[in-house]
């Protein structure tokens, strides 16, 4: 049977390495390992498996609080979702996936091509609109994104669409003028439609390291962020940053993206996520 001194520093270091390489961040890992070392000293844990179980439940405890699926509240139509995030995280593709889910649930969905900046962003969303059977409201490239959002709200209300999803341009959270533009988009939406945006979804890439924390902090201090979608979990990255983000900011994690196809979006499940962390 296992003795008292079975947990060597080597074992603890291996476990620490597994957590750090899952992008949990050294601060979160140090905090978790401190609790583990304390339990080991009190002889409450005497083998690697028990340590992993203890870590699994500690992390699950944090994530279960933010496991809050998106519910389409019975508000004045359209239920309005604003999609935001830094460049390349998967906002446009996630919108397509959401549109597909809502359509399958029987909702009428419209999309707003409010990324008027990036090359062929409007065309990209239009193709997804075609594929998912959603009307896309757009202006010319270079138009004011707030104007597109405004126009889309008008149009969605006129057509009694159940849901409107607004795509915005990728932007680095450290660029003040771009964050100002985002605030303006939100203001215009709120002014035009009572209670909107009903959901502001921050799209984070699971391959991102500690910078995701900075992204979550700065985006949520600029406008009210009500949900997170974590994309690209079909890769080898574990998305561990979401643990620190949950613990610090308590933003509900709505969805995880697991591929490039329209069906590759699932509601976030804390248990599945934690199991995958320890795979």
């Amino acid at each position: 049977t296992m003795g008292r001194r079975e947990i060597s520093d080597a074992v603890l270091e291996k476990i620490e390495e597994a957590l750090v390489t899952s992008d949990l961040g050294i601060a979160t890992v140090d905090h978790l390992m401190e609790q583990i070392r304390w339990q080991v000293r009190r002889n409450e844990l005497n083998d690697a498996e028990k340590i992993k179980d203890s870590l699994r439940s500690a992390i699950r405890e944090i994530l279960v609080k933010t496991e809050q699926p998106l519910a389409i509240a019975p508000v004045q139509k359209p239920f309005t979702i604003l999609t935001i995030g830094v460049n390349g995280t998967g906002k446009t593709t996630t919108i397509a996936k959401l549109a597909e889910i809502f359509r399958q649930q029987g909702h009428t969905v419209m999309l707003a091509a409010a990324d008027t900046f990036r090359a062929a962003a409007i065309e990209q969303l239009e193709i997804w609109g075609e594929r998912t059977g959603c009307r896309v409201v757009k202006h010319a490239p270079g138009a004011d994104p707030s104007a597109v959002a405004f126009d889309a709200l008008r149009s969605a209300r006129a057509r009694s669409a159940d849901i409107l999803i607004i795509d915005t341009a990728g932007r680095l959270h450290t660029k003040a003028p771009l964050m100002e533009e985002l605030k303006k988009i939100e203001r215009i939406i709120a002014r035009e439609h009572q209670g909107a945006p009903h959901e502001t979804l921050l799209v984070l890439d699971a391959t991102t390291g500690q910078n995701a924390i900075s992204q979550a902090k700065l985006f949520s201090s600029a406008i009210r962020v009500t949900g997170i979608a974590l994309t690209k979990l079909d890769g080898t990255a574990k998305g561990g940053v979401i643990v620190g983000i949950s613990d610090a900011l308590h933003i509900p994690i709505r969805f995880v993206g697991v591929g490039e196809k329209v069906e590759d979006l699932r509601p976030f499940n804390a248990c599945d996520f934690v199991d995958a962390l320890f795979d």
């Binding site: 390495e17 750090v20 390489t21 899952s22 992008d23 961040g25 050294i26 601060a27 830094v86 460049n87 390349g88 995280t89 998967g90 900046f117 990036r118 090359a119 062929a120 065309e123 990209q124 239009e126 193709i127 997804w128 680095l172 959270h173 450290t174 660029k175 890439d205 391959t207 991102t208 390291g209 500690q210 910078n211 995701a212 900075s214 690209k232 079909d234 890769g235 080898t236 990255a237 574990k238 940053v241 490039e260």
Partner: protein
């Protein structure tokens, strides 16, 4: 925005007359924390700290011998930081930002990487950079999957006044070989292949990259990497460079506050040089790699 691990280490050694293995160890812990926060991979941090420790201890012995136990002109804190900084610069270098041009009429640059890292935008930046350096580039739209990817590259080409080759109903390897032919026909001397984003674990898509390379023998195979990538940078870089003869890499989105530690990890693990840095969404935002700037940013 930048962590203060660097400064913490320097402060810790303030007032110390000399570096000892004792006070170095604490400073090294600060540096370790800073590097992990900067997304440098766990194993890479471990070997970096060991290398710095060895150098610093070696330095103590050296300075004692040279100065006969007298005080150093530079404070021990600054001296230690300089060792770390220099070690990082040495590991990230040497500077090899040149692209290879073959003896055939059209050379090729193949861009590859994970989804969304900035390949299409970087293809445009590279084309502009090459054109400024008296080359005649042809942009090649080899991403046949992403909605409007071809259109995106065409818009980029239009903005730059540079030609873009695309073909309907053709596989990426066919597109790229035909592009080389087309380049010769229109007098271009370098083709830049913009490929679809892909996971390194996606076997059919990795085979596609292999097929493109086999069909076109690119002189340059550049892995494009997002500066904000975390610990997975090593897995990704290793897998890509095992399947293909990667000749270098480009780090994008350095205009944000991502520390970019992946640059050190990737360099350590693949041994390939960092060629360029993407510093913005604009097509003029491409710089040739210099280790000093990135080294300070990673150390914090």
């Amino acid at each position: 925005v930048l962590s203060n691990g660097f400064n913490k280490a320097r402060d810790r050694l303030r007032g110390k007359i000399e570096l000892t293995s004792g006070n170095i160890e604490e400073a090294l812990r600060d540096i370790r924390l800073s590097l992990l926060e900067a997304d440098v991979q766990y194993g890479v941090v471990k070997s970096f700290i060991a290398q710095v420790q060895e150098k610093a201890v070696g330095e103590i012995v050296d300075t004692r011998v040279r100065h006969g136990g007298r005080r150093l002109k530079v404070s021990p804190g600054d001296h230690f930081i300089n060792i770390c900084h220099q070690e990082l610069i040495d590991l990230m270098g040497p500077v090899e930002t040149g692209l290879r041009f073959g003896s055939r009429p059209v050379s090729a640059v193949m861009l590859l990487g994970l989804q969304g890292c900035g390949k299409t935008t970087t293809a445009g930046k590279l084309a502009r950079h090459l054109a400024k350096n008296k080359r005649t580039p042809l942009l090649v739209a080899a991403d046949i999957y992403r909605p409007a990817a071809v259109q995106q590259l065409k818009v980029v080409g239009e903005k730059l006044g540079l030609p873009v080759f695309s073909a309907e109903n053709a596989s990426p390897p066919e597109i790229c070989s035909r592009a080389l032919q087309h380049a010769r026909e229109i007098g271009c001397d370098v083709a830049i292949f913009d490929t679809a984003g892909r996971l390194a674990i996606d076997e059919p898509l990795m085979q596609e990259l292999h097929d493109i390379a086999a069909a076109t023998r690119p002189e340059n195979i550049l892995l494009v990497c997002d500066a904000m990538i975390g610990q997975d940078a090593v897995n990704t870089a290793e897998t890509f460079s095992r399947r293909l003869d990667v000749t270098g890499f480009i780090m994008t989105k350095l205009d944000g506050d991502a520390r970019g530690g992946a640059a050190l990890s990737i360099k350590q693990v693949t041994g390939k040089p960092i060629k360029f840095l993407g510093m913005g969404e604009g097509l003029d935002s491409l710089e040739e790699f210099r280790p000093e700037g990135l080294a300070s940013r990673i150390l914090g």
